[in-house]
């Protein structure tokens, strides 16, 4: 039990450090770092507070606090990944709309250039 809590403590600190480092290097935008930092903080608090972990495991009806910890870790990461799926879907929609807009604008620009060329040729 104690060893597992130490491992999750180290993992949560590593996760927080990695996210902060990535934000500092502009690899992750601040708004998307919030979910990961929240996940790291929750993991850290539960790993270091046996009172909180025991209380949660009692509420969940689980006799073994480590199982409650793993269940909570799983839930937190499922929420983070779900949120990222929503963000990715929004980005894909925006990206497709932008690609279509670029193609249409290029098409119209090409047509306009051809019209100008034809007008110029007809004058000379």
């Amino acid at each position: 039990m104690e060893r597992l809590l130490n491992v999750t403590t180290v993992l949560s600190v590593l996760l927080a450090a990695m996210v902060l480092f990535s934000v500092r290097r502009s690899h992750i935008r601040v708004e998307y770092s919030v979910s990961w930092l929240a996940a790291a903080v929750i993991l850290l608090v539960l790993s270091r507070s046996s009172f909180a972990l025991n209380w949660i495991s009692r509420q969940l009806g689980l006799a073994d606090p480590p199982i409650a910890l793993m269940l909570l870790v799983f839930c937190v990461f499922v929420i983070v990944i779900y949120r990222l799926s929503v963000v990715i879907s929004d980005l894909k929609d925006a990206n497709i709309a932008m690609a279509q807009r670029i193609a249409i604008v290029e098409f119209q620009l090409h047509n306009r250039t051809e019209d100008i060329d034809q007008g110029y040729k007809s004058r000379i």
Partner: protein
Amino acid sequence: MKPAGGPNQLLILIPAFNEVGAIAGVIHEVRAAMPEAPILVVDDASTDGTERSARSAGADVLRLPYHLGLGGGVQAGYKLAYELGYDYVIRVDGDGQHDPKYIPALLQTLRATGCHMVIGSRFQDGNGNYTNSVRAMGIWFFRLVLRPILGKPVRDPTSGFVGVNREALQVFTGSFPLEYPEIEALVVLQRKRFQFQEVPCRMRPRKTGRSTITAVKSLYYIFHVLLGVFINVLKFERRRRKDAPREER
């Protein structure tokens, strides 16, 4: 390509991805069937010279900056057609499976019936043999699924040989399925209570290349489309519930 010069203008839309071997022939056939109609090829970032071949054959080309897939390409063409003021768009696939000699029949049905979408159906009065058994089962399955949703039978729900009017164009510029769009597009229109008709036509084997839907992919296709249909039905139900108190008043 010019903006539509007046009412009832038709645009022929040909989505193509790596169809250099077939695209010129398709354009010539379309030109022979509909000499007056402008032809727009949507090149979905082909790498084989499809764009050059289409331009040489006399079509206008809308070149996408990267590969969007069939739905993304068709929707881009619909958006351009809508912005240019066209009233009717008929889609013909770039692989030569759709026989352009049926375009006048599709256009005539669109104009005469006032329906929003017309489908060139290989199973009404034509030759539906050019399909593998898995796909045939899929078509049969989706006929069953769509029958209660659409409120009328549809014999060839996977046909890409379709024509739409301006009202449907407007809907599709805002919402169009990106992968395997044919079946979901029918449900999108149904949500707006739009009407569709089927017109018998014959389909041919593709001239070059191979279909993107293999037997294995057919299973993914069925799952993907079924999910899309289900989601669209849920949207429809939610809207109906929202409308219900208003109807009661």
